[in-house]
């Protein structure tokens, strides 16, 4: 059946896609620290900033969100002249490493709780 062949092809493509994605899923905290010199000028050595509050805190942020943000700056999906310049020069592995490093640092970021103050 043609339909089955299509389904099979789709499944194979999906599997290959996930494997390819998985290859870049693991960043190295140590490598990320080495590569983070440029980031530190605005985001601070540990991702807690340098007191300029227009720049986000990165410490303790989810690694996959940081990867998404850097990927979007790189592709131009997220427009920011400063970040476009830096992210454009990063490889997939660089992005995974940087995300691993900053997400591993301690900071104030946490899930939002809007319950009335106790």
């Amino acid at each position: 059946m043609k339909g089955h062949a299509m389904t099979l092809r789709l499944l194979i493509a999906l599997t290959l896609g996930s494997v390819a994605f998985g290859a870049h899923a693991n960043g190295s905290i140590d490598a990320g620290k080495q590569k983070s010199q440029t980031c530190q000028a605005c985001h601070g050595a540990d991702g807690n900033g340098i007191g300029i509050t227009m720049y986000p805190i990165l410490a303790g942020q989810h690694a996959d969100y940081l990867r998404k943000a850097l990927g979007d700056y790189k592709s131009g999906a997220r427009v920011n002249p400063i970040m476009a310049g830096f992210a454009g020069a990063l490889s997939e592995q660089d992005i995974a490493d940087l995300a691993a490093y900053f997400s591993s640092q301690q900071g104030p970021l946490v899930e939002l709780n809007a319950d009335p103050a106790k």
């Binding site: 900033g49 509050t53 227009m54 720049y55 986000p56 805190i57 303790g60 942020q61 989810h62 996959d64 969100y65 990867r67 998404k68 999906a77 997220r78 427009v79 301690q106 900071g107 104030p108 970021l109 946490v110 899930e111 939002l112 709780n113 809007a114 009335p116 103050a117």
Partner: protein
């Protein structure tokens, strides 16, 4: 010496005054009343965005100015995310300032 201190204070005030005016701080208490919807995604540990899949960002404790800039960018469509654009569009600028003030104030206390 005292005169120098006074001068330093006066010049500091002059420097900070226009900055404060340009980035009006919101009211965290008012922002809290608007933030219930945000917690549907940003309040659930491990909650993931779908297509593409990634954790929604931790936002409590983030810097006020960054949060406000992000919300305004979503509102204007400069930053694209269907849910966030729809949410931001439903608020006034004052609402966004109040939301950003509350979210920034809701971080964990670090040692």
């Amino acid at each position: 010496m005292k005169r120098l201190n006074a001068l330093a204070l006066a010049s500091l005030a002059l420097v900070t005054l226009p900055f404060a005016a340009a980035h009006a701080q919101g009211d965290p208490a008012l922002g809290r009343q608007l933030a219930y919807t945000c917690t549907g995604c940003h309040g659930i540990a491990g909650y993931k965005n779908a297509y593409p899949q990634y954790h929604v960002p931790r936002i409590a404790g983030q810097n006020y100015d960054y949060l406000l800039a992000a919300l305004i960018a979503y509102q204007k469509g400069e930053r694209t995310h269907p849910t966030m654009q729809a949410q931001a569009a439903s608020f006034s600028e004052t609402d966004l300032q109040n939301l950003a003030a509350f979210i920034a104030s809701a971080g964990k206390v670090t040692p």
